[in-house]
């Protein structure tokens, strides 16, 4: 199972706790993970990536294993520790600053 940590506003929207678990079939990439997340929680469609372009929303970042994967190719394999569920995939809202 893949573990995904959502930002607080999206946990409330989806009615879930801090972390959700997903079954991803095939190679585990950002695209596959987000496809599975949106299939399980359709209310999240459009909130993490744009509905039309499927690009990451600019103020969200994707972290895993202490690395920033925000700008990786959506089809690049995620780290083995994420794919095996040892480490969570973090979807993080950028801090507001100020």
């Amino acid at each position: 199972m893949i573990r995904v940590v959502l930002p607080a506003n999206l946990r409330t929207l989806a009615g879930v706790g801090k972390e959700v678990e997903l079954q991803v079939s095939g190679p585990v990439s950002q695209r596959a993970l987000l496809d599975a997340l949106e299939a399980e929680y359709p209310m999240l469609c459009g909130t993490i990536r744009d509905q039309t372009t499927k690009r990451r929303r600019p103020l969200l970042r994707f972290f895993a294993c202490e690395e920033d994967h925000s700008d990786d190719s959506p089809d690049a394999p995620l780290p083995e520790d994420v794919a095996t569920g040892r480490e969570p995939y973090l979807i993080v809202g950028a801090i507001a600053g100020g």
Binding site: A8, L13, P42, M43, G46, I48, Q51, T52
Partner: protein, 371 residues
Amino acid sequence: MSKVRLLVGTHKGGFVMTSDERRKEWKVEGPHFAGWDVYHINGSPADPDRLYAAQSRGWFGQVMQRSDDGGRTWQPAGNDFKYEGDVSTHKWYDNTDHPYEFMRAWHLEPSLTDPDTVYAGVEDAALFRSTDGAKTWQELPGIRTQESAPSWAPGAGGLCLHTIILDPQNKDRIFTAISSAGAFRSDDAGKTWKPINKGLHSQYIPDPDAEVGHCVHHMAMHPSRPNVLFMQKHWDVMRTDDAGETWHEISGDLPSDFGFVIDVHSHEPDTIYVIPIKSDSDHFVPDGKLRVYRSKSGGNEWEALTKGLPQKDCYVNVLRDAMAVDSLESCGVYFGTSGGEVYVSADAGDSWNAIVTNLPQVLSVQVQTLP
């Protein structure tokens, strides 16, 4: 005994407030969608328990919500707003052509007859409609592809379609308004549109009498007289008696004719309300006094309504969708401020009370009159 239900959108969530016809004691529920901008909540005239809410946030985009029980519970609805056909362009701040991008929904206008049909005015300026209770949305592209549309440029608030008025006596007629573009009318249920800005005069654009480019802030209509519209423009309060073919100014003796809100008494079609704001550079009420102005003559002669409103050290704004009237026998008038107060007058504006204070910045106020 009749009831009223107030639907309040704020910068950090939505609130539902209810009272009886005395409108003295209020039950406040919320925040719904805490932490999100709730630009608008509106209820279906055909089924008052059917509510629609537009929540958005810079981080997460647009989410639509629907309630079937008057706002006690909510379910996320469809939020896929795709422009029809080739994506056209509008002018950007540097005068280059900029492709339309969906940002958020500003205003929701449910059908007068069908609870499952609701219109959404969005940024970048376009009109969408759902006929399945907000599950799916389809653009009515006629306004975005209107001849003048490539020349529209966003104002500071964005290129938003923020006003939608459905003519209760002509199902094919719709009025809309777009910031920095102007007012538009369709006579074929939204297929085609024409600008209706003749008589508007705006000194902040190169041609003050141009066909488009006027910053309309809000419009209002009394349902018994759909050819008469009132408009609060960036500067100037305006009126048309011929469904927008020509406009004339009715600012009269207002202390400032800049403002955002405008509304019409529910039983007196010539009684109208505005809240003057000092200027476009200051965006707060003049002289530190929160005053609603009422005209009982359809404009030009205005009286300040101050009883119960702060008359010193007040520097709030009242945004375009943040005023509403109920249809109880004694017309109730409501508005919300940038300081988080929501005020009610149960006597058509003669006196005011705060329902709540210290909410987040109020973005919109709607009211439902319930049996």
